[in-house]
Symmetry: C2
Subunit: 347 residues, 2 copies
């Protein structure tokens, strides 16, 4: 299933591929007119994520434009709570809105047995993207599947949506550790099943997005970020020997060194990280991914080339995957993305 | 002016005072009924900040309750843009609202010559708090003055209020570096004047809050966090030899080591920082301040004592000031604060 000549997969086995493979978080998205055209034709964001024909199409769009080294499944980190029956809506300009899980009854209402059927369309998307990459001649592009990490998914479920600091979630973790551990446990098990199904359907690498890891104190970070990631990586390796996993403990700062113990093949770094310093904290053979500021990509010009050049200089000679430190924003000019790919390919 | 027997000031000269001095960010605030009583009697938050009698009273309230080792001037990091004529309002539940500074005309409209008169009430508050601490018998409590660091103040001025990632500010820093440098320059100079006036009025230590330092890439962090802090510290030292400065590059993560070069006497750490690891990156003799999770203080009980104990254990034997990693939140039970102070004093 995995083609070891693909640059992304080589970097994930610890090879210092140069020029480095490149893909960009949220590379399929609103900055692309061809994405907006498809998005305009569906009722809502969840419909787009769960209609294989359309989800596969938008996954492939940026590959056709830029020839990225990875396609990433078009989906959302909140598809799992949706599949668990928790409820999910996306309100224009507001982001996700979910019921607030605050007690044992809320936890008991989640049903892991409905996940497999609910996410069946996602698996069909994975199969279609793999087939599309092959049939459209993108033999060097690997397909990444993904899930939200349990803590970040718990954040949205407890808070009922986005938040600057997820205070209610941290409050529950401190004040009702048994309830919170129960939620984390159920999410960890469901994440293993969900990612495992993606690997079976054809995902060649898996990424775990812990977007809100940085709101935790070191002790909670160990308990709710490092421990579940370690469990997920071990279970995936057992079921799919050799499957590479990329971990993204966003805003984890100094904890990035400890995160290396999870067994991931690569750690994605957010924009705040000094890559040379971060790489020194990461275990040998673990690749670094990141971390251009998406706003430098908006600016373009000298700001973009300067920031990209600093990253390339710091990472030359080590296993590295060029990416952003956060997702592409809608106001990005597509030509700037093209210029960046050209610069990285010429490194 | 500075009394070298006060525990906070001793820690700031690099002494490993034990038990460590303790104060808490936003210790004067809505969690205290006596604060709410005073707040209810004024028209708005700015009126409270600029009425010396009331601002001094709320500054002293938590000292009377808990006998903290530091009182911190009751004010706001946005008083400086307000004093520059930029405009500022606090809307209930929304936070600060400011005009959006997006061009050279916006910068030219700021008037540094009106700052001294506008902040005169703040200086009167400083004098009243110093006098109050002495007359009420708090001879061991030091008075900290403060300002927002230039980058964080610029964030609110450019964005027009709070934001999760201050995208417009970063966009300006990349796309119009000359305009942004002009704004940073004016804010840096004004901050020096503002903090210097606080020292003259009787502040015994000064703190620089860079609440949004963590949204910056390493190159912008060096330019817009480290460089201005270095300039501010040098200027303050020249005018007020020996005045201690505490820097708070919030969410700066790995950049905390580089921040040590600013010359600050102490670095305040946010909740995400592993203190033992952070302390190893900080220059010898520089104190560490922090970093209990405010939500552990909300929870109280075993969560609170456990988190506090981990911090105390990591910091024993080095210059350290116990604090939170972020401000006290309104729903905090005052008795939990009392229990924390007792635990730290018994360390």
């Amino acid at each position: 299933m995995r083609d070891s000549t693909k640059p992304l997969l080589r970097a994930l086995t610890g090879e210092a591929v140069w020029p480095p493979p490149i893909w960009l978080m949220r590379q399929a998205g609103r900055y692309l007119p061809e994405y907006r055209a498809i998005r305009a034709g569906v009722a809502d964001f969840i419909a787009l994520c769960t209609t294989p024909e359309l989800a596969a199409e938008v996954t492939l769009q940026p590959i056709r434009r830029y020839g990225f080294d990875a396609a990433i499944l078009f989906s959302d980190i909140l598809i799992l709570p949706w599949a668990l029956g928790h409820g999910l809506a996306f309100k224009e300009g507001e982001g996700p809105v979910l019921p607030k899980l605050r007690d044992a009854a809320g936890l008991a209402a989640l049903d892991p047995n409905r996940v497999a059927a609910a996410v069946a369309p996602v698996m069909e998307t994975v199969r279609r993207v793999r087939a599309g990459l092959a049939s459209e001649g993108f033999g060097q592009t690997a397909l990444i599947g993904f899930a939200g990490a349990p803590f970040t998914v718990a954040c949205y479920m407890v808070e009922g949506g986005g938040s600057r600091d997820f205070a209610a979630t941290r409050a529950m973790a401190y004040a009702d550790p048994a309830l919170f551990a129960g939620l984390m446990d159920m999410l960890t098990e469901s994440t293993i099943e969900y990612l495992s199904a993606q690997a079976e359907a054809g995902a060649e690498a898996l990424m775990l997005f812990d977007s809100w890891a940085g709101v935790l104190s070191p002790s909670l970070f160990r308990r709710h970020v490092i421990a579940p990631a370690t469990r997920i990586v071990a279970a995936l390796r057992q079921r799919h020997p050799g499957i590479p996993v990329i971990g993204f403990p966003r805003l984890g700062g100094l904890m990035v060194g400890a995160y290396g113990a999870t067994g991931v093949n690569a750690i994605a770094m957010d924009t705040s990280m000094d890559l040379a310093q971060a790489a020194a904290l990461v275990p040998d053979g673990v690749a670094v991914q990141g971390n251009l500021d998406p706003m430098a990509l908006v600016a373009g010009g000298a700001a973009l080339t300067g920031e990209a050049e600093a990253i390339l200089r710091a990472m030359r000679g080590r296993p590295f995957i060029f990416n952003l430190g956060h997702g592409i924003v809608p106001q990005t000019t597509p030509a700037h993305v093209g210029a960046l790919v050209e610069q990285v390919r010429a490194a």
